[in-house]
């Protein structure tokens, strides 16, 4: 029998502890495939796609969807959110395929194929957006816990403590299943949406006709539009799903299951995202302005008189869950990126803190840093929460361009390069994301510069 606790030499190289852990997971997949159990193969390979998608239904994303519902009702933004998730599927399928074929993370590939400059620039972009996003995750957990009377320091300690706890297993599969278990609670927003009693006719009308169209300030509309895009297609998802696919040990043979994993994640996340919008739509119907009411207990408290206390409690719990899952996945994506571009250091959940100190330090450190910033008195939490998704949209185009080049790189992808259909949609998504982020930035800048800012 094989020992997994010490490296051994095979075929001119080392069979490490990390290899051993991964090979155990792969053996289960191999045995399930050999026995013809397709359901078990799918179950074993489920993970990175579901986590990337449900992880992106994070605190600021759910607040963005809820803000869209509270500001514009369900008209335009219900189908728009569904379309942004379809776009997220196209992008995430590419990153899964890259991870399965190359067995390397996204940061690692950029560093090696484009050189250290672009590698560090991409990692820098990611670190900056992830830190801002993690701050908003802690804010979401704080808002959710404040509804139950839990103080800010305890909420922050719980958020950071979860990341520390998840890293203790030294095993990717354990980390993944813990995060997936938490992520399924994202569907609590579906229950809240049902309790909000939306009109089936209005839902059908919105999905078919995209009406009623949003009215009012152009810059607010563009901010909400860009925030919703940033809520579904973001740089950390690329880093995370590719690195997690490689860490899980996906191979080209697993690409069909990887696609199914991504699709299941897309559908679940789209349902939960649309549900958050529908749940907050009664605020629009009652003309309650939420633009200055996102801090404190925010949405749950505002919704309580309209949809009842049980639904408001579930909304608060949903925010805590959304923030908690994203704390895990976004901290992990930061850790993957930093340790991959550092080169020559461990970057796997299958390695202990001693084996991969930089990876685990980055994972826990960025979460702790976000928690510490939230506790600084006078930090503009509301403004940060509103602009976190926008920042992700603005910084997304370079990440998408690198992804498209890598996914068409025949030298590393062989026959698994993008089809022309994927390239068509990939280029279209890159163009639309660039246009949406730029449109808000330019319009809001001009309004602010002329002293007409909203």
């Amino acid at each position: 029998m094989l020992k997994c606790d010490s490296p051994r030499s095979i075929a001119g190289g080392d069979f490490t502890h990390e290899d051993c852990d991964r090979s155990l997971d792969r053996t289960r997949v191999f045995n399930a495939r050999r026995s013809g159990s397709r359901g078990m193969v799918t179950w074993l390979l489920l993970g990175p796609g579901v986590l990337a998608m449900l992880g992106e239904n994070d605190g600021p994303s759910m607040l963005s969807y809820a803000f869209s519902g509270a500001t514009y009702g369900i008209g335009f933004f219900l189908p728009f959110i569904a379309v942004t998730f379809a776009a997220a599927y196209v992008v995430q399928e590419m990153s899964m395929r890259l991870g399965a074929v190359t067995h390397r993370g996204y940061g690692e590939l950029i560093f090696q194929r484009f050189g250290p400059f672009w590698g560090w620039v991409s990692a820098g972009d990611l670190f900056f957006t992830n830190l801002i996003t993690l701050i908003t995750e802690v804010i979401a957990i704080r808002i959710g816990m404040a509804f139950f009377g839990i103080s800010a320091p305890i909420a922050v300690a719980c958020a950071v403590g979860l990341v520390v706890l998840s890293a203790c297993g030294s095993r990717y599969s354990r980390w993944e299943r813990l995060a997936m278990g938490l992520a399924l609670f994202n569907l609590v927003f579906l229950v809240v949406a049902v309790l909000a009693r939306p009109s089936p006719q209005a839902l059908g009308n919105a999905l078919l006709t995209w009406t009623p169209l949003p009215r009012g300030s152009v810059s607010v509309f563009l901010l909400v539009l860009a925030s919703n895009i940033g809520a579904t297609v973001t740089p950390w998802m690329l880093f995370f799903q590719q690195s997690a696919s490689a860490d899980k040990g996906l191979t080209p043979q697993d690409i069909p299951q990887g696609r199914l994993d991504t699709l299941i994640g897309t559908v679940l996340a789209a349902v939960a995202g649309c549900a958050a919008l529908v749940a907050a739509a009664p605020l629009f119907a009652h003309h309650i302005n939420m633009s200055q009411n996102l801090s404190g207990t925010g949405f749950p408290q505002a919704l309580q008189p309209l949809i009842g206390r049980p639904a408001a409690i579930l909304f608060a719990l949903g925010l805590i869950e959304a923030g908690a899952v994203a704390m895990l996945t976004i901290s992990a994506s930061t850790a993957y990126a930093v340790s991959e571009v550092a080169g020559g250091v461990g970057h796997s959940f299958n390695q202990s803190i001693r084996e991969a100190p930089l990876f685990h330090f980055a994972n826990i450190g960025v979460a702790a840093m976000a928690g510490a910033i939230v506790l600084i008195p006078g930090t503009p939490l509301l403004a940060i929460a509103l602009n976190a998704n926008l920042l992700a949209t603005v910084l997304m185009p370079p990440a998408l361009v690198f992804l498209l080049i890598l996914a068409n790189d025949r030298e590393i992808m062989g026959s698994n390069v993008n089809s022309w259909v994927t390239n068509f949609f990939g280029i279209l998504i890159t163009t639309l994301v660039t246009a949406a982020g730029s449109a808000y930035a330019i319009v809001a800048f001009l309004e602010t510069f002329q002293g007409k800012g909203h």
């Binding site: 020992k3 069979f15 067995h103 194929r113 672009w118 020559g344 403004a383 602009n387």
Partner: protein
């Protein structure tokens, strides 16, 4: 079997033989193989220009967003 391979508790993969475990990984999936860096991509001049153009564009847009964000904070 190697003399160093003793049954042990902590990471003992019960029921799996070493060869089966090693074969379940692709050769290029082993840590030793992944540690070898891939060669640099030879970027054409238009691609290099496009990468720089999009980076400069994103920097300009980021400056606009940060300016707007800062002004809104002071209101």
């Amino acid at each position: 079997m190697d003399q160093t391979m003793q049954p042990e508790a902590k990471f003992q993969p019960e029921g799996h033989h070493e060869s089966q475990l090693i074969e379940s990984l692709e050769p290029d999936q082993l840590v030793a193989a992944v540690a070898k860096p891939l060669p640099r991509l030879r970027l054409s001049r238009p691609i290099r220009i496009a990468l720089w153009a999009i980076r400069i564009f994103v920097l300009i847009i980021s400056v606009l967003v940060i300016y707007t964000f800062t002004v809104q904070l002071t209101k």
